[in-house]
Symmetry: C2
């Protein structure tokens, strides 16, 4: 799963210009606020060319952030097969923890993942951008694979997936950044068996789902 579509000889300058423009637009307007139209204008090209080179907004984001892969595609590919078997029943959470830890700690992804986390923690702008990106791309994929409604259309699905995010990002923070010994030393399988049932409960268990929520932009600093 590559972050960028096939390239022809000679168009690398234009591609690069689009990625540079996208990086600036995402940084200043967030993931939601940045539009393909504005990115195209800033790069001095037609919006159709942006679509031609990069396909979806997420692929363009992945290219602009120099991610080696498109996160939701990798996640979906890794989770789909077993999700068909478990379909958010018992065992799905365990699988999700195993998959996420294995991806984050892979040579290909760990620097990128930690870099995104670091920038989000130190820059409000980056936090808004990452938060919106997670909510748009990762959450939709997770919900689909887990058999929930689309988070954008369902406050309950959004709350459930967000609670999964609290546990998964906390695992990443304590294991990969803080290096809390008992978390850093534990095997992926032990962590998956420990955390998996909590994930299952957030996805499908009885939890108090806030009835209605005021919509607002991410980045509640």
């Amino acid at each position: 799963v590559s972050a960028a579509r096939g390239r022809r000889v000679g168009d690398s300058g234009t591609r690069e210009a689009i990625a540079d423009a996208a990086r600036a637009q995402f940084a200043s307007h967030g993931y939601h606020g940045a539009t393909i139209r504005a990115i195209a204008a800033a790069a001095g090209v037609d919006p159709a060319l942006v679509h031609h080179y990069y396909g979806t907004k997420e692929s363009l984001f992945a290219a602009a952030m120099r991610l080696p892969v498109v996160p939701s595609e990798v996640l979906a590919a890794a989770l789909e097969p077993a999700a068909r078997a478990a379909r958010s029943g018992p065992g799905f959470g365990e699988l999700m923890v195993q998959t996420a830890l294995t991806l984050w700690e892979s040579d290909e992804l760990s620097d990128t993942f930690l870099g995104l986390l670091r920038s989000a923690v130190t820059s409000e702008q980056a936090a808004v951008m990452l938060s919106e990106f997670i909510a748009d791309s990762i959450f939709a994929t997770l919900a689909r694979v887990a058999g929930l409604e689309t988070p954008k259309n369902s406050p309950e699905a959004e709350y459930r997936i967000s609670m999964v995010a609290t546990q998964m990002l906390g695992l990443a923070l304590t294991r990969m950044v803080l290096g809390l010994p008992a978390v850093a030393d534990a095997s992926v399988d032990d962590l998956a068996a420990t955390v998996g049932p909590a994930i299952d409960r957030y996805l499908t268990g009885e939890i108090p789902v806030p009835a209605r929520r005021r919509r607002r932009r991410a980045g509640g600093h």
Copy 2:
């Protein structure tokens, strides 16, 4: 609960020198590695005077980091009363989440807390220091209040408390730093009811506790 003991007129220069020396020693040697003896030597005073001014190593750390309170003391005071009632049975986790969120989001503490988290995420040195501090001071207090063994002497207690830390720090990261909307907008009570049972399970439920662990320094980057 104040981070510093009573002061006499005229000794503020010495106190300040000790706090400055402590800050430097904690930063370069970590929380475990920094000794009262070395801090006293760096400040040019007798170790007894460090004890006299600051009491415990944790109080000295709190003063050096300019924390407005000594974290484990505030935590213990906030958790003790209800812990006597719940004693790590159902309901204790919910109380812990309520207490932690209320503390972290208080005017007095939120800047300090976010500052520590930011520095730990951006500096390996700060991560080691914070991780060791959490493991030494916060974990011991949490384990005592929850009725577990001392984490330093029990790999099982350390693993259980560390898993609590993965969830609690993930909640802080997503709510206060990333500002994921569904987490940032939820009430403290809803979050406590959602996350509490996961905390209870980590503390007392059936989870696969790694049998033996190689001891090592924190900060597994």
